[in-house]
């Protein structure tokens, strides 16, 4: 798919923007602080209903105004879809498709799929488990929009249950037999149900993603000319990349889940067995949970293990290797979504400046053939020749198409 048109009103620094794109590569060049990231962030927002830079919506609304509007015309399989999102301060956001009746923002998920590469991507390798869970969940929602609801439901139940654990734990300490304890079982059940749903989605995602990551890492790490070594899955030092899901269920996770040729977790039966496993584990750690007032089991405690060769990437991989792996995770996302039947729009926000010459060249080669690639850079020299498509200059609150 590709973005044919983007219109912004009071989104970040953009009071007004009206921009037509072509399929293929486009490069947006402009000095730092001119609003390039703001522009692509808007596209990312339409595709995930969240910003890749901030957790809340408030910073997305231009300072001094009350609402931001993003309008995107997306062409997919010869059909054009107009998606409109209104981000409002202090009330619910609204959405519309093809100028129809207002709908929930969630209903536009899937209309635009993007894979966004950003300088912050290194946190997927070097950051906290939460950074990797976010990567997984964003991809999961892109792939299957239903999970946006699952994710919100789970987070809500988790919050409620944790609040209860705190008060119930406190009550227990003071020797009271609290009502809270009776309701805890109810929340356990809901946590297990939504948790199993989310966990199943992630396990199947990782199972499907892992081979793409291995391939993509080999391609990025391979010397630029000899792309035929890529299929052998080795980097110059002979190491391959492997990703696997680490569940807080530990050895209680039913066997075979999360593996590429393993058991699917997302069907009725898979979810049921995960739900029972979660419930059993919750019962096992109940005392500990009450003691500490924290929910200790569930997808909010999980992680994505990244391994290069036989060493964990975090703490061992060099700066360059970490970048190769971060790029591989994004490229793998792109390949997975494409294999699912909807090629996403690739967005490369100021990433070339982060990479050495060899990785720049490899990345450029690997994405040049995509249906649409939007690249931002501070200077033209950062952008490899393969991607010199349509060129836009960004500055002074405007975007000019120059070639």
């Amino acid at each position: 798919m590709y973005v044919r048109h983007l219109q912004l009103t009071d989104f970040r620094s953009w009071q007004h923007l009206d921009l037509a794109f072509d399929a293929g590569p486009s490069v947006l060049v402009g000095a730092n602080g001119q609003g390039k990231t703001n522009l692509v962030e808007a596209l990312g927002y339409v595709s995930t209903l969240g910003s890749h830079r901030v957790s809340g919506d408030a910073p997305l609304i231009r300072r001094g105004t009350q609402r931001a509007v993003v309008r995107v015309a997306v062409v997919h399989a010869g059909r054009e879809l107009l998606v409109e999102l209104e981000i409002a301060a202090g009330r619910a956001n609204r959405a519309r498709i093809n100028r129809g009746a207002a709908c929930r923002p969630r209903d536009v998920l899937g209309a635009l799929r993007t894979v966004l590469f950003a300088p912050e991507d290194l946190v997927m390798v070097r950051g906290e488990p939460g950074d990797r869970r976010r990567f997984l969940d964003d991809l999961l929602v892109s792939r299957t929009p239903r999970y946006a609801g699952v994710r919100t439901d789970y987070e809500r139940v988790l919050k409620q249950r944790s609040a209860l654990l705190k008060s119930a734990g406190a009550a227990r300490k003071s020797g009271m037999n609290s009502d809270d304890l009776r309701t805890l079982e109810v929340w356990d059940g809901h946590l297990a149900r939504h948790g199993a749903d989310l966990l199943a989605g992630r396990l199947d995602l990782v199972a499907d993603l892992a081979p793409h990551v291995a391939d993509a890492y080999a391609s990025v790490a391979a010397p630029s000319e000899a792309s035929d070594t890529a299929s052998q899955g080795v980097d110059p030092s002979g190491r391959s990349a492997d990703v696997s899901y680490r569940s807080s269920l530990g050895s209680s996770l039913p066997e075979g889940f999360g593996l590429t040729r393993g058991t699917r977790a997302g069907d009725e039966q898979g979810r049921k067995s995960l739900e029972s496993a979660l419930l059993a584990e919750l019962e096992r750690v109940r005392g500990q949970e009450l003691e500490r007032g924290v929910s200790l089991v569930g997808p909010h405690r999980d992680d994505l293990d990244l391994v290069l060769g036989d060493a964990p990437a975090k703490g061992y991989a060099s700066h360059g290797e970490s970048w190769s792996l971060a790029l591989a995770l994004r490229l793998a996302s792109y390949h997975l979504l494409t294999a699912d039947g909807a090629e996403p729009v690739l967005i490369l926000d100021d990433v070339f400046a982060e990479l050495d010459r060899r990785r720049r060249a490899r990345l450029a080669e690997l994405v040049a053939g995509a249906e649409q690639v939007l690249v931002t850079a501070a200077v033209d020299e950062d952008v490899p020749g393969e991607l010199s498509g349509v060129r836009f200059e960004v500055g002074g609150g405007e975007v000019q198409r120059v070639a």
Partner: protein, 198 residues
């Protein structure tokens, strides 16, 4: 900031649910410009609400007398009880004209974040009522969101062992994550007639 009473009025209005600072200001200036008679009437109504409206001692709905009109209405089936969170939900179900039983208003939903547990809701009253009024069917119509679902589960567990009592949950079809009061009449009516046994 405006001077004295005007700002006080804006602040008071702003405390009401669903009214932001802008609306509060708009309402305040509307009241300032309104006819004295209109303002008097509003004032009287507010007074009456606080003094004259009580909660029905049977079902917990808002009422003018000790028991509400629905609980007094002999044409309505006392064996069939619909459990809702708030009085506004009674209105929502009434609008469907599908329901001929009585209600039980819980006064909220399980919400640990706000310190609401079973004891803060009218659950004990419900159990007593089932035991004494010969109730044979309870329809749980809490909101289709996290807190409403948890409350429903709690009630189902609590009531499932009552001999001769059937407990049903409003069938799905209600938009998830929503509020019962915002479900349109048709959807709610359909959910009511298609309720499933739990």
């Amino acid at each position: 900031m405006y001077e004295g009473p005007v700002q006080d009025l804006i602040d008071e209005l702003g405390r009401l649910p669903g009214i932001g600072p802008k609306s509060a200001q708009r309402i305040a200036f509307h009241l300032l410009a309104a006819e004295p008679a209109d303002v008097d009437r509003l004032q009287e109504t507010l007074q009456k609400v606080k003094e004259g409206v009580v909660f029905c001692e049977i079902c917990g709905n808002v009422s003018e007398q000790a028991t509400c009109r629905i609980c007094q209405d002999t044409r309505r089936d006392p064996k069939l009880v619909c459990v809702v969170e708030e009085p506004k939900d009674v209105l929502a179900v009434e609008r469907t004209r599908e329901f001929r039983g009585r209600y039980h208003v819980l006064g909220g939903a399980l919400d640990p974040l706000s310190g609401v547990g079973p004891d803060q809701l009218r659950i004990r009253d419900l159990v007593t009522r089932i035991g004494t009024d010969g109730v044979t069917e309870v329809i749980i119509a809490t909101d289709p969101n996290t807190e409403g679902e948890a409350t429903a589960t709690y009630l189902v567990r609590l009531l499932q062992d009552f001999p001769g009592l059937s407990v049903t949950r409003l069938a799905s079809g209600l938009p998830m994550g929503g509020d019962l009061e915002f479900a349109d009449e048709l959807t709610l009516g359909r959910a009511l007639s298609g309720r499933r046994s739990v």
